[in-house]
Symmetry: C2
Subunit: 324 residues, 2 copies
């Protein structure tokens, strides 16, 4: 695996991030271009080509090895066999864009596309917190709650490549309405927007929390980072929000562990920024609720890959395929 | 696969059922012995040997083919690699009994042991409602709620062979206490005892249901069969219990479908005797709550194997291994 490099591409709603990554996860070079998502798929594709060209031309591998492929991660449903991206929720006007063959033709590399949660899972498996685990579940806590299932060092994909939607596992069938159309999904408790909205509702009766100062008494400014900041200042209410978020999550993780007999969970994404108190509460609640043989084994861990997780994870799509 | 036969053994708390089954699922001969579980593992094992001997000696294959192995299904955790049965909940005093090697030594056949839910899943896959599905989830609705996950025609086992415990997926984290120690597991809603107990509580205020007549005004006599009988007589309350049971189940199935990207569910076991109304309610609720791409695909079906499902399923353990 020495001297192997891959290009990792993370297509986001605002930016496309790109990097040349070594098979050990080291970032050799990185760049970023505007997604220009509002201009439709053709413009996004040409932005993507521009970014890749730049990386390849200015690569500083200097004979240290060669690029073996391009990995692309993006939101939404991806037909990873055919390299087709279907309706990413953060990009307007996309309807089955054959990104794989377009990029392959342009650059002559093998191209591997997958959704961002699976890419994140592979990133942690190859370079991060999942290195030493046979199986684990990657949980991405952001606007949505995504998941990637690694079972026996392979991605578990299910019948149509859509497995791992753990954000839409129920914790209370009578719970709050979820964007997916159902009720009480874990996403409707711990997803960024839902969390903020619930706390905005509660804040009215919480006159003595430090959060009010931090948001300048403007409830619209509430976000997970502010809650975290207040918690770190010792604010009891803010701390309780984080613990509760972890406990909600733990309820879902226990269920998932029971179904899959996988006991390691790696938490990434923005809400995971709550850090240790979130992780601990999730771990405690999941271990409390899982079936007895699983309890001792339950492990909830923070993701190791941070700011560059997107491009590192996408590059892992290439290394993963090469390993097989 | 012609002229192949297997012995299927279903170890229950009261009886051990045994049969010689063809690779098409046909029962050639069957028998039954007392489990004598209260006398401990040694007696159970000798009962098991007695049953197998009887089957083999009196087998009427008459040169039509030969027995290729013995499949054994039992409750609880089974180390199927090593053929070890660990603490079956319905058999006292068992602690890691190496049933596989004991029976192999005695009879010289290959022996395959698995838990009863996986055996049921394989039975449906080989001989029943799962024949034409690439992937499906077997749901056994009895005292407990068990499950077997068939993904791409293989059993999904997870890390320690315990995957598929769908009875312990949560539908309400604040729900009723479950025997497993957690709260609001689907088993705590639709498992035989829980269902009966909940309805016993409700019955006090349901003075006009026909169920009272059927149980001779003795609330202790309530069981799912009586509820079904009342429903078939047109009793509205009894009908509503069945629909509600299906709806609870549907909530869990939607979650499971979202996690696994498997959309076919096959329901077996006693509570599945509620039949069509249960199936329909579960199907409707699961389709209503699953993620959009899954909704159209959700299928909830009754198991095809009935009274002999146990021995047929266990025999499928042999045919499954031979296919690989």
């Amino acid at each position: 695996m020495k001297n192997k490099y891959a290009i990792g591409v993370d297509i986001g709603g605002t930016n496309i991030k790109l990097g040349i990554i070594s098979s050990l996860g080291k970032i050799i070079k990185k760049t970023m271009v505007d997604t220009m998502g509002e201009k439709g798929p053709d413009v996004v594709v040409s932005q993507l080509k521009k970014g890749i060209s730049e990386l390849i031309q200015k690569n500083n591998l200097n004979g240290r090895g060669k690029i073996t492929g391009i990995g692309i991660g993006c939101a939404g449903t991806v037909n990873q066999e055919k390299g087709i991206v279907e309706n990413p929720p953060n990009l307007a006007g996309w309807d089955r864009v054959p990104l794989g063959s377009i990029i392959r033709k342009e650059f002559g590399f093998n191209v591997f596309i997958d959704n961002d949660a699976n890419a994140a899972a592979l990133g942690e498996m190859h370079f991060g917190a999942g290195k030493k685990f046979k199986s684990f579940i990657m949980v991405t806590l952001g606007t949505g709650v995504g998941g990637g299932i690694i079972s026996n060092r392979k991605i578990y994909r299910g019948d149509f490549g859509a497995a791992g939607e753990i954000g839409h596992s129920v914790i209370d069938f009578n719970g709050p309405k979820c964007n997916c159309g159902s009720f009480g999904c874990i996403e409707a408790y711990v997803g960024n927007h839902y969390l903020v909205k619930r706390i905005q509702g509660e804040m009215k009766s919480k006159t003595d929390t430090k959060i009010w100062d931090l948001i300048n008494y403007d409830i619209e400014k509430l976000n997970p980072r502010v809650i975290d900041e207040a918690a770190q200042m010792g604010d009891e209410y803010a701390k309780s929000i984080i613990v509760q978020t972890g406990e909600y999550l733990g309820c879902a993780l226990a269920s998932i562990a029971n179904i899959l007999d996988i006991s390691t969970f790696i938490l990434g994404g923005g809400v995971a920024g709550f850090g240790e108190p979130l992780i601990k509460a999730a771990q405690r609640k999941a271990a409390e609720r899982a079936l007895i043989p699983l309890r001792k084994r339950i492990k909830v861990l923070p993701a190791k890959l941070k700011n560059d997780a997107g491009i590192q994870g996408s590059s892992a799509l290439v290394f993963y395929r090469m390993d097989k």
